[in-house]
Symmetry: C2
Subunit: 220 residues, 2 copies
């Protein structure tokens, strides 16, 4: 059987929340095509290199980030997506509190910068499409998983949780309704701790029952 | 930048329900490696061929199936998965009523056979792992999407719906609980039709509000 040669890359969408905005990490391309344009961090897989390992290597090389939670997103392979010819890309996405990411600013790395998803610059290749797809996945995961844990401290108030949801979903949510629905999901539990504000009355602190990404609540 | 050469295949997990069992379509391999062993239908991508198009081509070539709903599952790329060297596979999964699949039995096709997921034979490569992954995806989709519509007729009783869930989840569900939870999901609506049995009293018929695969109910 004939085996055809394919070029395979990986591209990584890293989301965080800062300044009350959902942001994605972009880098400035050092080479053609799209030299000096913003793009997702990514690169070619070495021969025989496993995609999961390539992602870790590329994140370190391009933006000097490590220890970030990664999940495979989707594999894109249409012919028009790269001017160099058909290149297949295995995309990944990550979600992390901003302070957990250590970006080492050095001469080697390509100006890694978090940009608000609402005000993205011109982006190279089909990376806009990949970001849109990742955002969709993230939003749909909010509906039925504990994924928000990775953006919140261990203990948080219902207001903090709601604000996280509002920022990602890009809409205001009704306070009572949000509380009712979220409790129904069965993903969090109250603690005995409270958050004492200076002017407000103390707010009850909650925590996620599980802080592992794969555990979904079984409905049936 | 150096571009490495990769071999890329696609493998397809097609599920159906028949004889009250969840089954997956396997073919008998015509070539080495694993000649004469059961495997998922699959094959190499042509140079510059889009993965989605390769799947359609391969399904027709290997099992003479067309017009089946397909969804990309996951891309596997570990080094030990194929004795010919590292081959990346983009896997897909499908779910379809058995009578909608037209398998043309001919000399060209490789003995396409539906096998119960509970009694799978020895399977080539890491295809067992791919089937397990697909089954997981399918089960988790039952929790929050309308995916079951693709296995049910347009009008169905609550009992038929529950039985479909039980077969896929491989467990008995409490009738009252199932009904309560499913209504909460807001995916189906009652019709004015009834199913008249010979010995039972007529059962109310329901239908899915949407019979498109991507529409999920938004919780928030």
């Amino acid at each position: 059987m004939t085996r055809f040669h394919q070029s395979v890359t990986t591209d990584i969408v890293i989301f965080t929340i800062s300044d009350e905005q959902l942001k994605v990490l972009l880098i400035k391309r050092a080479n053609e095509p799209f030299k000096d344009q913003w793009a997702l961090p990514g690169g070619f897989l070495f021969e025989k290199e496993e995609p999961d390992k390539a992602v870790v290597r590329i994140l370190w090389k391009k933006v000097e980030i490590k220890d970030v939670y990664l999940e495979q997103l989707y594999t894109f392979g249409s012919s028009g997506r790269d001017p160099r010819g058909r290149i297949i890309t295995i995309s990944y996405f990550a979600l992390t509190p901003k302070d957990k990411i250590k970006i080492v600013v050095s001469d080697k790395v390509q100006t890694p910068t978090f940009r608000s998803v609402k005000q993205l610059p011109d982006i190279a290749f089909d990376h806009n499409r990949i970001i849109t797809y990742a955002l969709q996945r993230l939003r749909s995961k909010l509906e039925y998983t504990n994924v928000a844990y990775s953006l919140l401290p261990q203990y948080f108030t219902f207001n903090q949780l709601q604000r996280t949801y509002e920022i990602i979903l890009n809409k205001k949510l009704d306070k009572r309704n949000f509380r009712k629905k979220f409790i129904l999901l069965g993903l969090i539990k109250p603690t005995k701790k409270v958050l004492k504000g200076e002017r407000q009355r103390p707010a009850k602190l909650y925590q996620f029952i599980s802080r592992k990404p794969t555990e979904l609540k079984k409905f049936f």
